[in-house]
Symmetry: none
DNA sequence: TTAAACCCCGCAAAAACACGCAAAAAAAAA
DNA sequence: TTTTTTTTTGCGTGTTTTTGCGGGGTTTAA
């Protein structure tokens, strides 16, 4: 059999089943493991599949949301990196949705071992790319606006969770008004998320500082970390310097 | 033999089998390897075939590489359209994951009003684009392989659901072995999904017909609809014609 | 911890290939 | 027809590609 044909058959298997085991290919194609491994290596190098221990995966799933334009991506990445500094091996993390959290999910250290609960399918999909993470997607009604799960079912499940750290984005932060939002259901959700975690970090690009929305989620006193893309020492953040809130 | 005749014979072989081995041509035409190699070289230069190590391929041999991301997409869309025919306003639908289901989610009629339960974040994201659909993402552990939620928590939630129609893809279908799969957890999940619905439809591209994987999900008797991209009257499907199974 | 499965690396044999050369064949010219 | 020229072919030789195997390391699951 020609090598190209073999590659073709392998790709067929991958496209058919989304994943394939090296051992299955060995018996299917009647060649040695080494040959299969070398084939997978090559196909992997040309990005036609993703090689993993014991076999290979389809690329089709992995590349769905990569090239979406993200507003202020650099700022969000900067925030994400700071937030990642809070995450240690073995922690249980609870995350909300939003582009900043998705960026964060893309920038985690590859060898991190942790448990992530999230209400965002997008975040879950990104987190699932890390071998060592346990990812739990909290289920419930799916919000068309916020693209997260919400509603009583989600709230119920959050009651059973006690995370080490909660990471959420926000619509608005204000020195006296604290954390505010526009949507009542999302508001409820964030409140519950905060109460389901020992510590909470707010990820917030600087232009949302000093703004207020209609519905209050939490006071600054209930938050442990405020993370923006600007330097923690910057005077712009002076109004937020209270004892219980660490600015990163 | 004239060179031109040889070339014609080589092309005939190529057109006949889509591929040819150098060694086969040597014994077929009783000339030296070098001659064959030179012929293939020439034919390749005039783009009549594609030369590869060990032989040559037809130019019309489209490797599945060329359309990795859209592999069998047409087939899947065809299947999706047939499956959509089963969906009526007001129904409660339960869906699994997989590319076919994602295609289906993209092709729904815009004004459909229905409730969708799904274990796939991808499907949920697509469904959320329809104004009139209620989308419930069933939460739980998120499978890195299958990209769906799974595990006991999912199973528990499925216990509380009684859908009108369950739509799932499959790894393999066989006339006697029925529905089979490779992953134990996904296996459990599919079993439960089937039992959580009044009717069940299997979405399956024809290449998966007559194949079997390690673990049994269900017999054909437990399935109500088998949907492939090929015509329902096609003889290829004869082995699947049992009273309780409608082929679309 | 151990056993099994998986992976990586380098080697060596076999297969495939490339290139020059000269004989053979074909074509062209005398 | 004979001679010359061109083309084609097969062979020898050396190179590259492919493949299986052994040894040894790593990962995984019990």
């Amino acid at each position: 059999m020609l090598k190209k044909e073999r590659h073709d058959l392998i790709m067929r298997q991958i496209n058919l089943h989304n994943r394939v085991l090296t051992s299955d290919l060995v018996s299917l194609l009647n060649v040695s493991e080494d040959t299969i491994r070398r084939d997978l290596q090559e196909l992997s190098e040309s990005k036609r599949l993703i090689k993993v221990h014991g076999g290979a995966l389809s690329t089709s799933y992995q590349s769905s949301f990569d090239d979406v334009h993200v507003y202020a991506r650099d700022a969000k990445r900067c925030i994400a990196k700071k937030a990642i500094g809070l995450i240690k091996d073995g922690m249980v993390i609870l995350t909300g949705g939003g582009t900043t959290l998705i960026e964060l999910a893309k920038l985690l250290p590859p060898q991190l071992t942790a448990t992530f609960f999230t209400v965002s399918p997008y975040v879950a999909i990104e987190l699932a790319k890390y071998e060592k993470l346990e990812v739990i997607l909290i289920g419930g009604l799916f919000s068309k606006n916020s693209q997260v799960t919400y509603g009583s079912h989600v709230i119920n499940q959050l009651s059973e969770i006690n995370a080490d750290l909660c990471l959420i984005g926000t619509s608005a932060v204000h020195p006296t008004n604290g954390l505010t939002d526009t949507d009542w259901e999302i508001n409820q959700l964030k409140k519950k998320m905060l109460s389901s975690s020992k510590r909470a970090a707010i990820l917030c690009i600087s232009e949302k500082l000093n703004t207020t929305q209609r519905l209050k989620v939490a006071s600054l006193e209930n938050i442990n970390y405020l993370i923006t893309e600007i330097d923690a020492a910057c005077t712009e953040l002076n109004d937020y310097r209270i004892k219980t809130l660490k600015i990163l």
